[in-house]
């Protein structure tokens, strides 16, 4: 901060002052942003250094980790195939998106197209509440209601634990994510676009189906992808209902695992530094990596969506 010469001069005092103020503002906000960057770098660094140790220190083959289907970390002849978990995560979150996607888009359409105004006033708080319900509570309900229900549905053939239960619980959890993004996208569509279609004598559904949805497809996909990302990273609720068997899911009713569930179950029971522990960090790294992938997909989608 340079000091001012003509202190008597009101204006030059103002000069120094606004410079000083702006400097404070800049330092403050830049520090905050720096903090964000530090946090992410630190997370990536820590997770990567632990997660990569599996391969570099313990000598587990990355090929085995990524494509092996045999998971037996404590066996006498340990093997570390994480494909069942990677596959499980994908299957469960895709299924969840498959259920929640259409539902959410309908909800968003309801808010913006079918009953604009009032629809939003009803559904918006509902959506916010759904997103506010803690995941342990979702897990608890899944455990006490959904799982027995599925079991009864199958006539007791299945325990109810499995992919279907996991996907259903997750679908409710990601409903708010997709809905709010879809609703924002719908709201951002210029009114004129809809009106032009109406003015041609198109019905509301024709307008939605032929004009609104195609135009907004990239944004809607963004919502779905972020929903999948959320589902991918959700831990406790899934772990409570999915059954946690370390096998690639073969049907909706078989017990399976996800990356998050195997981490939750085993991370704390293994001792730091052991290969059993490190391989779980590798899975955390995998989660991190997938988050990046999802975000990049979203970015590519948004680039296509220059409204």
């Amino acid at each position: 901060m340079e000091n001012n010469k003509a202190t008597a001069d009101n204006k030059s005092r103002g000069f120094a002052r606004h410079r000083r103020e702006d400097m404070i503002g800049k330092i403050y906000t830049y520090l905050c942003v720096l903090m964000l960057i530090v946090v992410i770098v630190a997370i990536v660094y820590f997770v990567a250094s632990k997660g990569l140790a599996t391969f570099f220190k313990d000598g587990v083959s990355p090929i085995e980790f990524l494509f092996g289907t045999h998971w037996s970390p404590d066996g006498d002849n340990p093997s570390f195939g994480a494909l069942p978990f990677i596959g499980g995560s994908f299957v469960v979150s895709m299924l969840a998106a498959l259920i929640a996607g259409p539902l959410s888009i309908c909800a968003a359409l309801f808010m913006t197209e079918i009953v604009p105004g009032k629809g939003k006033r009803i559904l918006q708080p509902v959506i916010e509440l759904l997103s506010g319900i803690p995941s342990v509570v979702y897990g608890f309900i899944g455990l006490t209601v959904l799982v027995p229900f599925i079991s009864t549905l199958t006539g007791g053939d299945s325990l109810g634990y499995g992919v279907a239960a996991g996907a259903l619980v997750l679908s409710v959890m990601i409903l708010p994510t997709i809905t709010s993004i879809a609703a924002d996208a719908l709201a951002s569509l210029p009114r004129g676009m809809r009106e032009a279609s109406y003015a041609l004598g198109a019905t509301r559904w024709q307008t939605i189906y032929r004009v609104v949805l195609p135009t907004l497809a990239p944004s809607l996909w963004t919502g779905v992808i972020l929903g999948i990302a959320r589902a991918f990273g959700e831990a406790l609720a899934v772990q409570m209902v999915i059954g946690n068997a370390p096998f690639l899911p073969t049907s909706l009713l078989t017990s399976a695992s996800t990356l998050t569930s195997v981490i939750t179950l085993n991370m704390t029971n293994t001792s730091t530094g052991s290969v059993q522990n490190n391989v779980l960090w590798s899975m955390a790294l995998m989660l991190l990596f997938m988050t990046f992938v999802f975000i990049i997909i979203v970015r590519l989608l948004q680039r296509r969506n220059k409204l």
Binding site: G75, S151, L159, N244, A245, T264, L265, T268, N269
Partner: protein, 286 residues
Amino acid sequence: TTTEPAATGTTTTPAATEQPAEASVSGEILAVGSTALQPLVDQVGQEFMANNPDVVVQVQGGGSGTGLTQVSEGAANIGNSDVFAEEKLDADKAAELVDHQVAVVAMATVVNKDAGVTNLTKQQLLDVFNGTVTNWSEVGGADQKITIVNRPSSSGTRATFEKYALGEKVENVPGAIEQDSSGTVKQIVADTKGAVGYLAFSYLDDTVTALSYDGVEPTEANVQSGDYPIWAYEHMYTKGEPDGATKAFLDYFMTEEVQNADVTELGYIPVSSMEVKRDAEGKVIQ
């Protein structure tokens, strides 16, 4: 840069095996580890704090692995574990730790009440858990498909069960499920036809059938006599010999007051009542 645990308390009464005198010790004790052991340690910790207002006992779960790691790294005063340290840590690290066996936990195989079996031999049990046998009728029970409810592969309970009941590690059978919580395991076994799992004695009740093992009933007496082999110690490890508040706490743990009240109340068996002892390899040494 791991901070030293704040176990810098001092003991005025040497070897306080009896009731610790009021306000005799001070400091903070951090006990981390086994979630199974956590309720017991937490309970005893609270009583200990009530007697020693200057002591804070912090009990965290996190699992046996975390407990052993933390105590070995000096991040905790006590590492709670369901298994011997040698089973989780490198030998040199394990050697630095001092074992305090505070209770014995015994487990029983449990099946759904309709399964129609009350006893399995070691071989039969192994066949069930490694998937060789898939229907209860094959081992003399009802014609029901077997559904296995396992604990996670890293769980101490599972390790104990595999070691002493099955005699070897088994891998998951497709269709089996893993649950982290004993309560849930019991619930599932009680509700699902053909389900089988394993539970600590404390969880047993008449909603499930507890099986005899090689003809020996899962009772406390059979465990104490050494006839029933599916049991393990609950360990509280310290790095080196404990001192100060930690020592006072561990000593308090071994008092009659705790062993015959809290320990038994929670379904554990007091170590002192055992007629046999085991080492880390599982060999009976007495």
